[in-house]
């Protein structure tokens, strides 16, 4: 690893979203939107991404902060993960997101890294990250999905040439909380459901999110619907700090007595997008939250999984996490 200067770029620090969008639109392919910079700077230092225009969003105060709305809570995309974790509203009503944010990386990174950046971060496949000309980088091969490829961390579902997974801990939480994403672009604002924000390789192999060039994620809205529900979050990783998940799970359950009245269950790091486990939800909805229901749900969780050479372990891991999430 080199410790010299990263290649130079022009740095812009706009004070409002409109200026940021216009700068990014003008820069096109050479532009880069930087939030906390915890991933951006690594890309630049490694010379894998070499934008000429970097737009630092951290000075846009309207993108920072957490406020209650008539229907839930709105979190500015530039709010740091530490602030998301410790915010009283999030802790009390949407604790799932607080738990997920607390498990991201290290304290130093959570103090600078933002919720929007964590959700929108790029794939962590090391072949892709080392600058190889894989499908995701615009090339025509995959180095991970080969007999000797190191694919222990890669996907079980939804492979389409690329086998990378979503590395985000907060992404699974916001999908389970039925959040929607507010995006500002050259043609104004649009709002997409969290589930539609994440893009698999079959749709667009070079992007992880629905953000188009020139667009900026400005806020994450969480509806009041799931406020105060029974939450479960667990992340399994090789190391307890800094590391990305091998598998993580986030569930929101509305109970009526002992019965699961409604549930949203999302599993991360098993597919390129946070995997909503609709089949499991349908099986356990209306049943008692007990061992038997958990067994039934877990059995269906990994249905259709096609493991790679080194990641078979993710199947029982995922099933066990689903079991724990349903038992609560």
């Amino acid at each position: 690893m080199t410790k010299d200067m990263m290649p130079s770029f022009n740095l812009f620090q706009p004070a409002d979203v409109e200026s940021a969008v216009s700068l990014l639109s003008d820069a096109g392919e050479n532009g880069w939107a930087m939030a906390g910079g915890q991933d951006s700077l690594d890309w630049f230092k490694d010379r894998i991404k070499r934008p000429t225009t970097v737009v630092d969003l951290s000075g846009i105060t309207s993108l920072v902060g957490i406020s209650e709305t008539t229907d839930g809570v709105e979190i500015g995309a530039l709010t740091t993960l530490t602030d998301v974790e410790n915010n009283p509203i999030i802790k009390e009503k949407y604790g799932l997101l607080s738990m997920a944010a607390s498990r991201v990386a290290s304290p130093q990174i959570r103090n600078k890294g933002t919720l929007g950046g964590n959700i929108s971060q790029d794939a962590r496949c090391w072949y892709y990250r080392s600058g190889l000309d894989c499908y995701r980088a615009g090339g025509n091969t995959c180095y991970a999905d080969t007999p000797e490829g190191m694919n222990r961390e890669h996907c079980l579902f939804g492979a389409s040439r690329c086998v990378a997974v979503t590395p985000s801990d907060t992404a699974v939480a916001i999908v389970s909380l039925e959040a929607s994403m507010v995006i500002q672009g050259p043609n104004g604002e649009r709002v997409v459901a969290a589930e539609d924000y994440f893009i698999g390789p079959a749709i667009d192999i070079t992007h992880m999110t629905a953000l188009k060039p020139g667009e900026v994620l400005t806020a994450i809205r969480i509806p009041a619907k799931w406020a105060g529900a029974k939450f479960y979050f667990e992340k399994v990783a090789d190391r307890n700090t800094w590391d990305f998940p091998l598998v993580n799970i986030a569930s929101a359950i509305q109970m009526s007595g002992d019965t699961i009245e409604d549930i949203r269950l999302t599993c991360g790091a098993v597919e390129c997008v946070p995997k909503r486990l609709n089949v499991v939800e349908d099986i356990v909805r209306g049943s008692a939250a007990n061992e038997e229901t958990a067994e039934l749900g877990a059995g269906a969780a990994s249905r259709g999984a096609s493991p790679l050479n080194y990641n078979h372990f993710k199947i029982p891991l995922m099933e066990n996490l689903v079991k724990r999430a349903i038992r609560g």
């Binding site: 740095l11 812009f12 910079g37 304290p107």
Partner: protein, 215 residues
């Protein structure tokens, strides 16, 4: 030819100790290396560029900035692609902040920015113009007394090779500033972003717990 030195140890400089001591020679080499290294850092700014224009684009950041470090406002010429760790170490001579991985993984470069710990290798200096930065040089007293956290680390034999120590100190001080009476688990969480290759984690945790008790 009579030898001037009395010791029979091997002396690569040969003869004249008074004119050129080994110590002076080594110091000279280090100084020359620093200058050459610094020149490389500065020139790579223009050499490594993909911009054919060379000059910064209109609206891009001004290079001359003021940043508040350890309570002093310092004027410094900062390139757009310069990290805070580089500014502190190369421009402001605050070399207490160490660079370990330069990728935000190890925590050796931890500094406090507006009271919270951040990896200075992963922060562009231009993003902290309006913030207050505290490095390991700034945690002690005004007359050079060391911080209780540092004293406790000495007593608990926490530093082994010492490379991660400045980062551990800053993480520990930041913790005690926001939570003067942390539990052992809270201390462990606060130090979770600081790698120690010597494996003296328990000693560091012991030190912070001790400092919390004495502070």
């Amino acid at each position: 030819m009579q030898k001037k030195f009395s010791s029979d140890r091997y002396d690569p400089l040969g003869s004249d100790r008074d004119a050129l001591s080994r110590r002076h020679f080594i110091k000279g080499v280090i100084a020359a290396g620093t200058v050459a290294g610094a020149a490389g850092l500065m020139t790579s700014c223009s050499d490594g560029s993909d911009n054919s224009e060379g000059a910064p684009a209109a609206g891009s950041v001004e290079r001359l900035v003021s940043i508040n470090v350890n309570g002093n406002v310092r004027r410094v010429d900062v390139m757009p692609n310069e990290t805070l760790a580089q500014t502190l170490r190369n421009k402001l001579s605050l070399t207490g902040t160490k660079l370990g991985c330069d990728r935000g993984s190890c925590g050796a470069c931890t500094v406090m920015i507006d009271g919270v710990t951040q990896n200075s290798c992963s922060v562009l200096t231009h993003t902290v113009r309006d913030a207050s930065v505290v490095t390991v040089e700034g945690v002690g007293g005004a007359n050079g007394e060391i911080h209780p956290v540092q004293q406790a680390m000495i007593e608990e034999l926490a530093p082994q090779c010492g490379y991660c120590t400045p980062g551990q100190v800053v993480s520990g001080v930041a913790l005690l500033q926001r939570n003067p009476n942390p539990t052992r688990e809270e201390v462990r969480q606060a130090l979770a972003g600081n790698l120690c290759r010597c494996g003296a984690y328990n000693n560091y945790v012991n030190a912070i717990v001790k400092a919390a008790g004495s502070a």
